[in-house]
Symmetry: C2
Subunit: 231 residues, 2 copies
DNA sequence: CGGTCGATTTGCGCCATAACAAAAAAATCT
DNA sequence: AGATTTTTTTGTTATGGCGCAAATCGACCG
């Protein structure tokens, strides 16, 4: 097996504070995995026996209720760990991870987890930090859904996407992967109809420019004002 | 300083898999803290320089938006860790913890955190499990708020309280600490008015029996059916 | 025991947004 | 190019539950 270069991961948040030998120890048990656009890396409910780090591409993580209603939990970007069911003491994956563009990940067998955490306290601390950040984010979303109405929730969601995956262009900031109105609706707890109406209004105001599975934010500051303004 | 007995904590989920010396190492740096009903253990935004374990009592953790809207994040029960801002790499407490009954906790200085995690991998793994469970719970709440209407959300919230703090009586299951309609509203993203109406209807149906800051669930199974029924 | 204050209940009107419906637009396939 | 599918837009109607208002109830206090 070709050795994976540790420079690939040394700078990632999950591995800060780890020396070269530690990184080699981590990489020694990993293998690469490609996922083509539209393919699932793992499915909700499936036995969780591996965990992952995304190197390149973008995944959408979703959860579905027994009644069939779906939500978008988050989008995974390069450098993010995902599918860490082991870390949260779950036997199965709590959601489904689907590639929205062709993607490349590293995979470890779950059997490696306890040993890695025990040998590398920095990895443990970093992973906790990651989980904590996700927890904060979830709670923020709950707070938004409790107290704000649809337009502001959508604005916040788009601003979060700008931070995670915004790419500057001369027209404004482009969300760097294909994302549908339905996705936005499932991130914000509304319907694609409402999202579509909101985008139409914003387009009229010159805040954004839409397109099929495409979002270009022309005026991020204006959107921010709209999201934060009291009332 | 009086030594705290390790039998107090040995059986708690946070410390499973740790030997006697490990437990002593953990306890050596802790001190006890009493919080009377209504008192805040820490406040949102305050510099986080300690973390906690609840031994006895009950706390309510809340978060508030810049605009002043509040939500109840969770209730902390005996054996739960809380205020672990360090674990999530936050400088300040992200919420406020208030005693809803007279309570007793253990407190550690944040400076002890890194050392404890490094020396005791089991503690790291257990803490991750705790964070993961909270993350799961948050995502479930988001999913509920996205897809279900107020009555079902309230039903789920009450069932969760039954699991966390239900005490069997001959009349039914009593939530073991004072909790107001306003609290329930802030847990479910609705208003106290709506919660009150829902409780009135349930009382009529014989599902629950209310009271001032008091909830008695007469028919847990009926409530469960109501919460889960498709539609 | 009367007064005060916090908590709860209830009524009513309105509005944001879901639900239903259909068409238009853009991409993909044959 | 034409056909098919997916995604988005837009119109109309219906309604859950919020906002406002007020009354009631119960607990605690002096």
């Amino acid at each position: 097996m070709a050795q994976i270069d540790r420079s690939l991961i040394a700078a990632l948040p999950s591995f800060v504070g780890m020396g070269p030998e530690a990184l080699d120890d981590v990489l020694a048990q990993a293998r690469p995995l490609r996922a083509l656009k539209g393919a699932a890396v793992f499915n909700q409910g499936q036995n969780a026996d591996e965990f992952f780090l995304l190197l390149h591409g973008r995944l959408r993580v979703t959860r579905i209720t027994p009644q069939g209603e779906q939500m978008v939990v988050r989008f995974v970007g390069p450098g993010d760990m995902f599918g860490v069911a082991m870390a949260i003491k779950s036997e199965t994956y709590p959601g489904t991870a689907t590639a929205v563009v062709d993607s490349l990940a590293l995979v470890w067998p779950n059997s490696a987890w306890t040993g890695l955490i025990s040998r590398h306290p920095a990895l443990a601390l970093n992973t906790m930090g990651t989980l904590g950040a996700r927890l904060q984010d979830s709670q923020t979303r709950i707070l938004e859904m409790s107290t704000q109405q649809a337009e502001k929730r959508v604005a916040h969601a788009v601003l979060r996407l700008v931070n995670q995956a915004g790419r500057k262009t001369d027209e404004g900031i482009l969300i760097d992967f294909p994302i549908s109105r339905q996705d936005i609706a499932e991130m914000t707890g509304t319907t694609l109809h409402t999202v579509s109406r909101i985008f139409s209004a914003w387009e009229e105001m010159g805040l954004v420019k839409g397109g099929r599975r495409r979002i270009l934010v022309r005026d991020p500051h204006g959107l921010f004002m709209l999201a934060e303004k009291a009332e």
